[in-house]
């Protein structure tokens, strides 16, 4: 009897095991997409959270997370909640490489979003083998035109217009503005791909500065260097045009040097979009009277303009999910990137894959709703986001108002010497409650 029972058990277990093996062997092998489950999509961010760059850009992941929290509270993306894992690279290439590799191999994120910095991210891209693993590298915050090289960075989509585009549009603006065109013009730029891209853009536009550009290594512009450069230029007659093509902390160093030397009204200041964030300049100690009247390029609405529907919607989200953090250009940029990410995830469909996401941005990305006042340029051949700028004048409150009272948007490219053209682009309305419903 005992023997029979044992035999029965053995037979049943054998049968179950055989059937199980047969069933499993007939199932198609399915490799799960990393970072995606039925309930969650895991995204990764690597950028400066601490250090001098962290002071300016540290708000970026918090702003993205706040927007994702808002989306999660409204049902997520096809039922999946978005989780953002942030890692601090302190704006150092070695840390950017290791942190991005950690995001891919350890945190197993589905895609990267909003990475910041040219020197850092170019190394991180190779070290983390994003191309080999086909990891989508979304809305990178750099205007370095090298990232547009699809062969080298096949999974990258940048969001900022290239610095070369910005320089070309600045050159046109100087040429077309009667108060600026006759003045001597000078350029103080960061000596990296950022600044060099800008120098190339001015050359493409045929703009000739009165003297060779003053270049300084990133993060190495000291008050003494800035004072030296300004003292040299103060002897130039008239009211020279001084273009500042660097990060916001460098712009602040130069403007504070001008305050010390009482040269704030000596120049027509033009700050690039990266270094012209008025809120950050004021937070870094630049006097309101100094920025009053300075010219700055932008592709976004003014972050202080609560009448703008996108700004207004993002401000609401910020006050609810990002408590205690003041709303500025960096927060606007972070939330806008997050909104684009959500639209990209929706466009990729319910069966989310890395290849599907890349293909969705290529085919539908140009039509995504966005806070930008200039067109998005994504396509099968273009990985660059915005492709234009408008010019404004800052007031003492740090508000950027359209120059001459009329908003004029210019669009151009990074490589030809064709002149920028005025664009009639009208952006899409902000999605209801800030929650995209595209497919």
């Amino acid at each position: 009897m005992i023997r029979n029972t044992r035999m029965k058990r053995f037979s049943i277990v054998s049968a179950v095991a055989t059937v199980g093996a047969l069933v499993f062997s007939t199932l198609p092998a399915q490799a799960a997409t990393p970072g995606v489950s039925a309930k969650e999509i895991k995204l990764g961010y690597s950028g400066p959270l601490t250090g001098s760059a962290g002071l300016v850009y540290g708000k970026l992941p918090g702003a993205m997370k706040a927007y994702f929290d808002h989306i999660n509270a409204n049902g997520g993306v096809y039922g999946r909640k978005i989780k953002l894992v942030s890692r601090d690279d302190k704006y150092l290439p070695t840390l950017a490489a290791t942190q991005t590799t950690n995001l891919v191999l350890n945190d197993k994120v589905f895609a990267l979003v909003g990475a910041l910095g040219t020197a850092t991210h170019s190394k991180a891209y190779t070290a983390a083998q994003l191309a080999k693993n086909n990891v989508p590298d979304l809305f990178v915050n750099t205007g370095f035109s090298g990232f547009a090289n699809k062969a080298k960075y096949p999974t990258t989509f940048t969001i900022l217009p290239s610095y070369a585009m910005e320089a070309k549009i600045m050159a046109k603006f100087i040429k077309d503005t009667p108060t600026l065109a006759p003045q001597a013009s000078f350029l103080i730029a960061q000596d990296d791909e950022f600044g060099v891209d800008g120098v190339n853009g001015f050359a493409l536009a045929g703009h000739k500065f009165t003297a060779a550009p003053t270049l300084y290594p990133q993060g190495a512009l000291t008050p003494a260097l800035a004072e030296g450069a300004l003292t040299k230029l103060s002897a130039v007659p008239g009211k020279p045009v001084l273009v500042l093509f660097g990060t916001t902390d460098s712009t602040a160093t130069i403007l504070k040097a001008a305050e010390k030397l009482s040269l704030t009204t000596k120049f027509n200041w033009i700050a690039g979009s990266v270094g012209g964030d008025a809120n950050t300049l004021l937070a870094l100690g630049v006097k309101p009277s100094t920025i009053n009247g300075a010219l700055a390029a932008s592709f976004f609405p003014d972050a202080k303009d609560a009448t703008d529907p996108y700004v207004s919607e993002f401000m609401k989200i910020n006050s609810k999910y990002n408590k205690g953090v003041s709303f500025d250009n960096v927060v606007l940029q972070g939330m806008n990137s997050a909104m684009l990410t959500v639209q990209a995830l929706r466009a990729a469909g319910k069966n989310l894959t890395r290849a599907g996401l890349i293909s969705a941005i290529e085919s539908k990305g140009a039509d995504f709703a966005s806070a930008g006042l200039v067109p998005l340029n994504y396509s099968g051949t273009s990985r660059v986001g915005y492709n234009g700028y408008w010019f404004g004048q800052l007031n003492e409150k740090g508000e950027l108002k359209p120059f001459g009272g009329k908003l004029t948007v210019y669009t151009t490219d990074s490589s030809s010497n064709s002149a920028p053209t005025a664009s009639s682009y009208e952006r899409k309305p902000v999605p209801k409650n800030g929650v995209p419903t595209n497919s």
């Binding site: 959270l49 601490t50 918090g62 942030s86 601090d88 704006y91 150092l92 290439p93 070695t94 950017a96 490489a97 290791t98 590799t101 950690n102 191999l105 350890n106 040219t118 020197a119 850092t120 170019s122 190394k123 991180a124 190779t126 070290a127 083998q129 080999k132 960061q190 000596d191 990296d192 791909e193 060099v196 270049l215 290594p217 990133q218 993060g219 190495a220």
Partner: protein, 326 residues
């Protein structure tokens, strides 16, 4: 009973360690292989500090600059001279060694805070110097690409395992050579310089020449570590060698025991593992972003204090004492 000489024992130990590392590289995932490569690279850099400070009594606060010299030399050898990556790493060590020799002779009369200040100035001026020469690629830097692993290792052989093999092999061979050197007459002379340079001079030792030689060897090893570092991040730029790297290496050397080469791997492990441990602590107990970013610094500081209090000569020395007692 066959007697084995100390040198042979040391060689056997290194071969055995090599085998163990080879087996480990097959058993762990890609992330651990990548982290292991960094451990080996840091171990090498720490060994260069131990030789300089622990053995020859010279203090460098700017070793990251010497690593950068090697890194740029290696990258230029690959990009401009089209050298094989293995040769490029040797060139990295040689050029940094020659640079160190010249610097060593220049600063041979300096010691203590003056030497530290000179090397510190070198590290601080690195970004400006690098930006003066267009061939060095400015702030963006230049590529350091060693290419994919040889196809004979098979398709499954990952880039990270390749990095690990190269870094571990370079570290093992160099530290083995350094151990032999320190066990030789030169090791004794270096220690004599450190303990009493006047007495050493009275004994007929050319203090200036020997200090320069120690500086040169240390620079060469740092240059090799620099070459490995930029191999791991696929490019060299001034910001890859911040001043904080020099201080991190000194920290690793103190934790290792600055008078002892035995624990260099531990020093490398500490530098790689601390941020990971901090992150895992924060994820377990929760905490703000500020807590996450400040915890690694706090842990390193605590470890430094503990190391100075309990194992001033490093855990290697501690093991040695333990063996003697039994």
């Amino acid at each position: 009973m066959v007697k084995i000489s100390t040198n042979r024992k040391r060689t056997l130990a290194f071969v055995l360690l090599g085998w163990v590392l080879l087996i480990i590289s097959d058993r762990v995932g890609e992330l651990r292989q990548y982290q292991g490569s960094f451990v080996a690279m840091y171990a090498l850099a720490i060994a260069s500090i131990i030789l300089l400070t622990g053995y020859s009594g010279q203090l460098s606060l700017g070793h990251s600059a010497l690593m950068a010299v090697g890194a740029y030399a290696g990258a230029l050898s690959i990009n401009n001279l089209k050298l094989h990556p293995a040769l490029a790493l040797i060139v990295a060590a040689l050029i940094a060694g020659i640079f160190g020799l010249l610097l060593g002779f220049t600063v041979a009369r300096l010691s203590g805070p003056y030497l530290a200040g000179t090397t510190l100035a070198l590290a601080v001026s690195l970004p400006t110097v690098a930006n003066q020469f267009p061939i060095l690629g400015g702030e963006q830097g230049i590529i350091f690409d060693i290419g994919t692993p040889p196809s004979r290792f098979g398709e499954d052989f990952s880039q990270y395992k390749w990095f690990f093999w190269i870094s571990a092999l370079a570290a093992l061979i160099t530290i083995w050579m350094l151990s032999n050197l320190l066990a030789s007459r030169y090791g004794r002379v270096f220690r004599a310089l450190r303990d009493n340079s006047v007495a050493a001079q009275l004994s007929g030792i050319n203090v200036g020449r020997l200090k320069a030689i120690a500086f040169s060897i240390s620079s060469g090893i740092a240059g090799l570590a620099g070459g490995l570092l930029v191999m791991l991040i696929s490019g060299v730029s001034p910001s890859a060698f911040p001043l904080s790297l020099s201080f991190a290496l000194l920290t690793g050397a103190v934790v290792t025991g600055v008078y002892n080469l035995k624990g260099v791997m531990l020093g490398g492990l500490v530098l790689v593992a601390i941020p990971e441990i901090a992150e895992s602590v924060v994820s377990r107990i929760g905490g703000s972003e500020g807590f996450t970013t400040t915890l690694p610094g706090f842990m390193v500081s605590a470890l430094l204090i503990l190391a100075v209090l309990f194992t001033p000569n490093g855990p290697g020395q501690l093991l040695h004492h333990h063996k003697k007692k039994h």
